[in-house]
Symmetry: D2
Subunit: 343 residues, 4 copies
Amino acid sequence: MPTVNELLATGPRATPFDIMRSAYAELIVTDLAASEHFYVELLGFVVSDRTEDALYLRGWEERTHHSLVLRVGERPAAGCVAFRVRSERDLALLEEDFQRRGSPTRWLEGGSLGMGRALRVWDPFGFPLEFFCEMSQFETQLQRFDLHRGAPIMRLDHFNLHSPQVEEGVAFWLDMGFVCTEYIATDGADERFTGAWLRRKPTVHDVAFTVGRGPRLHHLGFTTADTVGVLRCCDQLAAAGYAHLIERGPGRHGVSNAFFVYLRDPVDGHRIELYACDYYTGDPDHRPIRWSVHDARARSFWGALAPDSWYEESMPVLGPDGEPVEIVDSSVDERTARSEVMA
Amino acid sequence: MPTVNELLATGPRATPFDIMRSAYAELIVTDLAASEHFYVELLGFVVSDRTEDALYLRGWEERTHHSLVLRVGERPAAGCVAFRVRSERDLALLEEDFQRRGSPTRWLEGGSLGMGRALRVWDPFGFPLEFFCEMSQFETQLQRFDLHRGAPIMRLDHFNLHSPQVEEGVAFWLDMGFVCTEYIATDGADERFTGAWLRRKPTVHDVAFTVGRGPRLHHLGFTTADTVGVLRCCDQLAAAGYAHLIERGPGRHGVSNAFFVYLRDPVDGHRIELYACDYYTGDPDHRPIRWSVHDARARSFWGALAPDSWYEESMPVLGPDGEPVEIVDSSVDERTARSEVMA
Amino acid sequence: MPTVNELLATGPRATPFDIMRSAYAELIVTDLAASEHFYVELLGFVVSDRTEDALYLRGWEERTHHSLVLRVGERPAAGCVAFRVRSERDLALLEEDFQRRGSPTRWLEGGSLGMGRALRVWDPFGFPLEFFCEMSQFETQLQRFDLHRGAPIMRLDHFNLHSPQVEEGVAFWLDMGFVCTEYIATDGADERFTGAWLRRKPTVHDVAFTVGRGPRLHHLGFTTADTVGVLRCCDQLAAAGYAHLIERGPGRHGVSNAFFVYLRDPVDGHRIELYACDYYTGDPDHRPIRWSVHDARARSFWGALAPDSWYEESMPVLGPDGEPVEIVDSSVDERTARSEVMA
Amino acid sequence: MPTVNELLATGPRATPFDIMRSAYAELIVTDLAASEHFYVELLGFVVSDRTEDALYLRGWEERTHHSLVLRVGERPAAGCVAFRVRSERDLALLEEDFQRRGSPTRWLEGGSLGMGRALRVWDPFGFPLEFFCEMSQFETQLQRFDLHRGAPIMRLDHFNLHSPQVEEGVAFWLDMGFVCTEYIATDGADERFTGAWLRRKPTVHDVAFTVGRGPRLHHLGFTTADTVGVLRCCDQLAAAGYAHLIERGPGRHGVSNAFFVYLRDPVDGHRIELYACDYYTGDPDHRPIRWSVHDARARSFWGALAPDSWYEESMPVLGPDGEPVEIVDSSVDERTARSEVMA
């Protein structure tokens, strides 16, 4: 296992392929109509398309066909997290890369709504990833303020993953060309990651890790225009009788400077973060910010404790066989990982 | 004519009656359906009631039946501005007071939607005023954030009147028990008012004067929750294709500290101010703030000039015969009155 | 003991005296310099005056000499909560009223910084109250935005008291001419108050009760301009290393619609609420809003639990002998009182 | 001269060098102390360094040594606009590129405060550009909310240039690898640009053109955290007696969705835009948005007219000889260019 210092000293790999950004996630939901009520009526996602068993959603700023796919299944799960690459050539290079790693790879040829073909792979830890380079576009609705509802949700920002092997996970994503922008680590000689934030687009992250049992999807982060939008969403949810869906916040993270609120969807418990106040990270010599696990401000700049559920609950991910990937314990002791909230 | 100093030295009269606050206005509109689109669909007023020829509206915080009545007529006009008094007894005392002044008075007995009987009078300058003490109530919708639209508009705050005789007007309202909280005046020995703000409820005003041809209604001021609501309303109007209805602002007034925007309704040109950031004025020894007419910050704290229309255009008011009251010129020279914007 | 229904049916008494509003509080602090750092440097109160053993503070909107007095003493305590009355005559009438009740009364003659003489009394439950009608004034600093620091704090809004006898307390304040605007009560036949909000000025409250051991001062509520100011204050406190002073929030109360945060001063633990989004309550027939103690939204519209300290900790008040008044248990079971947070 | 359609059909060139982003500007000021008062005391820039004749400033989010250099000179002017490139190799390739164009090039070797060596060139239209790849870094102050002043200003966002040859200018920047995200154009067969926005980092722009006499620097755009920060800056400037420095706004641009205000520095008239509400533009197939010059919403989404000064006044730029570059008229008729504001 690489050490934190080794990982950060090495930095990202110069890759032959160009992964551009986190692009969409597929969530398996058990009741599409009930999910539509939450994501569309309450949160205000824009409906791009629908089929008998799936709903294709996007934020108000997004022109690409979807950043969230809700697909009906028997049990709630995360189907995949998907990344946009620059060109078809990148897809071929990524296939090679994953085949060399011995990962399962699979092509989803055309026909997928609004997209060109996609490469579905499973990373060494069991997370289902997808890569694609073509997606159809809509006219922007950014300035249709008269139609905005909810926060409103502007665009997908990132995926947050619950992983028992954060060092190995970080090593993998650095190898994919990602850059570490912030991390939380234990103190002392045997420094271990308890959280790590990695980016391709020049924001704080496209992918983040929270140490814990996994592989599981912790949450999807969507950008709102400002802090006021986050508050408005809380007011609207509570007014409509859904205050119990507000799991944590609103508040500010030390890490990433995010003004956040975490919501749980009422049917399957998928976790959505509304997220504002990110910053620019694109400079090549941009150094990662280290937070001690004992600094409560990393997770909660204002000091409010996260509820247990936020640390413990997460969504299983689907394996190549369509069944949930087995969940394993974390190599970092759970108490250590949460010492940040007990300081 | 009393001087500014005499007026302010005398202060408000101890009245036998208790006028509590500005309560509602009646606007004559020429196309009720088109007006409903603006006030309800675009601005987000709550519909309390409707008849064949009138629409009764209120803000989201208001429980009383209406703060705005739109009534169909042949020509746009202001029907009346109405004040709530504490009790029936106050109505009788006000009738006496106005009869003593030789003002036309008239009782509107019951039957009026959502109200007890009302006393309609015309003040010495021709403005149609109404007083009442009973109005039916709805449950508050303040916290139905999920239903809020537009700014949203919370409650009626004040009436602003275009008047050629501001000193006499101020004297009249002081005589009604109102308190002057702020004013704009010419400099030098022959000090004249060019604007005055008068209150009963402990905000900056229930009634204000802008010097100019009159009697005319300059605007109705409605409170929004915060500055962000004012901006959101502008965004929504523009997105829906109604940017041309934004006459002035958004910006901040020096007077009253208001964060404001002025809108003109698309059918008849009635002017609505959205208004935030008022302050408490209830102390008995609260001294009025004086602004020089040459201090541009009085009208525009940030310096942006108001368009000519804002100074020149206003709505005729209806007389006892149902016809528009004759409009006369201001005794203060128009150039003087506007020197504030040319500084 | 009067029942909730009896109290609300009777309503406020028509008093011969006119208490206008909550005006200032005196807190006993053990380290004046350290307190000044918190209240002035971190929160941004304006210093009006200082003596060897006291600091006189006000908000940015306030013109009156002070709304908060910090006075040095051996142990932290609440010295008094003070109300402004309309005239000298009201003071004499209040003296009579309290003498008739058998309450200790005492005149603080002139000399007090920035004030005329004041009547200090102890109410039937041991709370030290003060009434006065004269206070010197400063120029407003409302629009000295360039000097604002912290939230900024605009003005004192209310006092919140921990009281074991809420029904009796409400009866007392109704007798003082106060109006009940909102309350939390147990369900069922034997309905009991667990919280009550009472006002003179037309906001939600000047005085509120939280049921519990008392008499104790729960907190002082100060108005900020908007929700954004509350968030900025949290950010500034945390950035300066004082996140641990944020006891609860930010969040929204169902009661009063307040967007709030509760802070504890770092030396003595006095609790300060920053408060925005109040509403107008001045109509004579304004009906109180009832919340069930089992409706968690009353205390926390978005559902976040208050920490134990917020329910349990409060400040002793000083009796006529200058010693803390004895604290007694609540007649409403503590578990009942908090059932709102366990729903 | 290339047509608009030809330019947009061709798109950006695949360049051998990698210009990463707009990075800093040098302004020539005539009174350094007075400029410091405006930029540091009023706007809240962070001082990174100072020499006898220059001040090095940055925003609160920025870690790199400076994004604004104020350098003393005899007449106000723009010294250069500077871009960060990925590596030393890019600098060499850029030198070749500009030499091939016949442009003056010059190396500023080390010694420059906080920077590695820089390549200064003059583009075909006379604008002084600079390229560099190394700049020393500070710790981030993003979360030192307790120290923030002014808006606060977060980071440099873009340069806006007044140019008589917008088509040629756009062609040049596409050739540098920039992407056009939005533009304003005349209608009809002979379509001409009146404004164009071009980016490298995935925001709306790093460089924009406003058609008009040039070469001149129209303004520097700096990002603020949100709309509220822009309003706060206006309030603070006005409160401090500097309302006359607010040239235009606050308001919203249709182009770029910016919530903006334009300020003029009080000594030399340099124009600073505070800018919020940008959006993500990084997708390779992100299509530019076209606005008609007759659509007033392009420049002013809410309809308020820009003052003449905003269209006419701009800052001369310095040539290789240190003297102002000669200013020439626009090939697009001035009336056409401004028809957008007369619609």
